[in-house]
């Protein structure tokens, strides 16, 4: 029998109740523990229980009491599932997202601090340093976000939850901010020195990037250390 055919042996409406363990099919239709094809309110007939046995209060020897009625045909593993497992293993080995996020976090905080020193001292070298830090931080945002989305895909099936919504929203704000800041500073090198609205926006955004970055990092921390 093919695994896909097993589903119809669900023990409901008088149909036989079959379960699979380690490739063998067992008929549990007559068992009082499988009434209507449901076992302990958790497991359903028509399913492969091989992976669940370690969680059961009984051991695998319970299957010795039942005579197998057949075997499941070996089917080719779905290529997409196999590819996902390979990518997941690679991700766990190299964990690119936690590595890459540290560059923008550090550089945006450092850049904001340098900008603050510039605004307080009017020493232009601080402004240059802030600009370089923010530029490199901006370059680091894109691989960090890409690695985060990759992780979200392979590890969390791109499921929207509060944490991932927060991280995505923060990332979009940050990308918009740096796409505004860096080209503006390139086009108008003295933007931070001027006293017009654009200059105020430029300076404000440099400081806004800090809480936004920390907000994204805080939500990332909730994935690593959930509470």
């Amino acid at each position: 029998m093919k695994k896909s055919e097993l589903k119809s042996f669900d023990g409901k409406d008088g149909r036989p109740a079959y379960v699979v363990y380690n490739g063998k099919i067992y008929d549990v239709s007559k068992s009082d523990l499988w009434k209507d094809g449901v076992h302990m309110g958790r497991h359903k007939a028509g399913e492969d229980l091989s992976e669940f046995i370690s969680m059961a209060p009984h051991d695998k020897e319970v299957f010795d009491r039942v005579e197998p009625v057949g075997t499941i045909e070996a089917e080719q593993v779905d290529a997409s599932i196999e590819r996902l497992a390979v990518l997941r293993n690679l991700y766990q080995k190299f964990h690119p997202h936690p590595i890459l996020i540290h560059f923008p976090i550090g550089l945006f905080v450092f850049g904001a601090f340098m900008q603050l020193l510039f605004l307080l001292s009017e020493n232009r070298s601080f402004e240059f340093t802030a600009f370089y830090a923010i530029t490199f931080g901006a370059l680091g945002v894109f691989p960090a976000v890409a690695a985060g989305i990759f992780s979200w895909w392979i590890n969390y099936d791109m499921t929207f939850t509060t944490i991932f919504k927060n991280k995505l929203a923060g990332s979009i704000i940050l990308i918009i901010s740096v796409l505004f800041l860096v080209p503006l500073r390139f086009i108008v090198p003295d933007i931070a020195l001027r006293s017009d609205t654009m200059s105020y926006i430029y300076n404000a955004l440099i400081f806004v990037n800090v809480p936004v970055t920390l907000f994204i990092a805080y939500n990332g921390g909730k994935i690593t250390w959930p509470s």
């Binding site: 766990q92 590890n155 969390y156 099936d157 939850t161 944490i163």
Partner: protein, 80 residues
Amino acid sequence: MSGDVKNRIKGVEEMIQVVLLAIPREISARHFYLSAAKKATSEESRELFEFLAQQEMGHEAELRRILENLKNDLDDLKKT
């Protein structure tokens, strides 16, 4: 949509997040124990690590089952 349904949706969404975050931990723990089993220098420790890896596989399977049920619950609640 009533306030009660909204609260229930919020509760289910929180549970989905909890279960979702737990799954990669189980996978990671299983890899860790399997790797440890390969490095084991005694039969006893190898058996222990293999047993622990088996447990983690069970945890992952249970969590995926719960996640599927929660997602179905959420779909049903959103339809009400």
